[in-house]
């Protein structure tokens, strides 16, 4: 009897969380105010963590809340706040209504195709009896990550570092283009560009080098 009640409550919990997640996902896509849409996305990510708790993955649930709700949604909100205010509202424009219909038809096709995978095949209905203890799952997960698949963690670290450096480089690249947009690699003037431009203007490059060296010597002397 108690087992049946527990199973019933588990089903109710799943259906409740699934409904909330789907509604929040639709709101994140359809709400007119972009800041509210990002908030709905963050709340949706929190509820997805509930599924990970149902699936006996508490560490993944904690990481989901920390990274998605606490990191990614805040990052997107900062991105929205850096934009002018008129971007807060949705301004989807389609040249013809046919393009929008084509997008909707294609997305419905994706849903039907993926839904057919669920209903055409027979999937397990219960968790196998031999299973991992929930209290030991973190230790096993750490063993999986660092013991057997440590190289993947290293690769992920390199990917994150590369994206961080790439993001900074892209922002600096734009700034450098504004500073000196016409010469040099990445908008930065180099010694060769300086001498070649002067040579094009009629000055001999051989003469420019001693002049600059003489100026440097004078500055050091003073």
């Amino acid at each position: 009897m108690l087992m049946q009640i527990e199973a019933l409550l588990e089903h109710i919990e799943f259906l409740l969380i699934a409904g909330i997640v789907l509604v929040l996902a639709i709101l994140a896509l359809e709400h007119k105010d972009l800041v509210y849409a990002v908030f709905f996305f963050g709340i949706m990510a929190s509820f997805v963590a509930g599924f990970f708790l149902l699936l006996e993955a508490p560490f993944v649930a904690g990481m989901q809340i920390a990274v998605y709700t606490g990191g990614i949604s805040v990052l997107i909100i900062f991105g929205v706040l850096l934009l002018p205010i008129f971007h807060d509202t949705t301004r989807e424009r389609f040249e013809t209504i046919r393009k929008k219909r084509l997008g909707i038809v294609l997305s419905i096709f994706v849903i039907i195709l993926s839904g057919s995978l669920v209903f055409l095949f027979t999937w397990p209905t219960e968790i196998p009896a031999v299973n991992v203890d929930l209290a030991q799952s973190l230790e096993g997960l750490a063993q999986w990550l660092w013991g057997n698949h440590g190289i993947y963690v290293q690769f992920i670290a390199i990917i994150i570092l590369t994206s961080l450096i790439g993001s900074l480089a892209i922002l600096k690249l734009e700034k450098a283009e504004h500073l000196n947009p016409e010469s040099g690699v990445y908008g930065l003037a180099t010694w060769d560009d300086d001498t070649s431009e002067k040579a094009k203007a009629g000055n001999k490059s051989e003469d420019t080098v001693p002049v600059i060296m003489a100026q440097d010597a004078e500055e050091e002397g003073t």
């Binding site: 896509l29 997107i76 993947y152």
Partner: protein, 106 residues
């Protein structure tokens, strides 16, 4: 016990919603959010598979942890690219026709 097909149905619904957002929406931030929704669906499917299959391994959970890490990185990069797009074209709406800058040197 909740059947695996329920989790998969939910995961595929999220993937379909994300695909809808990526194909129909033209706002760059909404496209990024759509990609994240699709990622959430994939993560639910991976963790459910790892728990319900006969031989339990931590492959699903480990992959999800790696996916979450990469998702944070690619979202940061996507936001930077979005800001760059806005600086250059003064819009983040892909539906607005963008006038190419004429190259004055040529």
């Amino acid at each position: 016990m909740i059947p695996l097909s329920w989790y998969l149905a939910l995961a595929f619904m999220l993937i379909g919603l994300g695909a809808y957002g990526m194909m129909v929406k033209r706002n760059l931030i909404r496209i990024i959010i759509s990609a994240e929704i699709m990622g959430n669906g994939v993560m639910i499917a991976l963790v459910a598979f790892s728990l319900y299959l006969d031989t339990f391994t931590f492959t699903g959970q480990g992959l999800v942890i790696l996916i979450i890490s990469v998702a944070a990185a690619h979202t940061a990069l996507a936001m930077v690219l979005m800001l760059m797009y806005h600086r250059r074209y003064q819009t983040i709406d892909l539906g607005v026709p963008v006038v190419q800058e004429e190259i004055s040197d040529e």
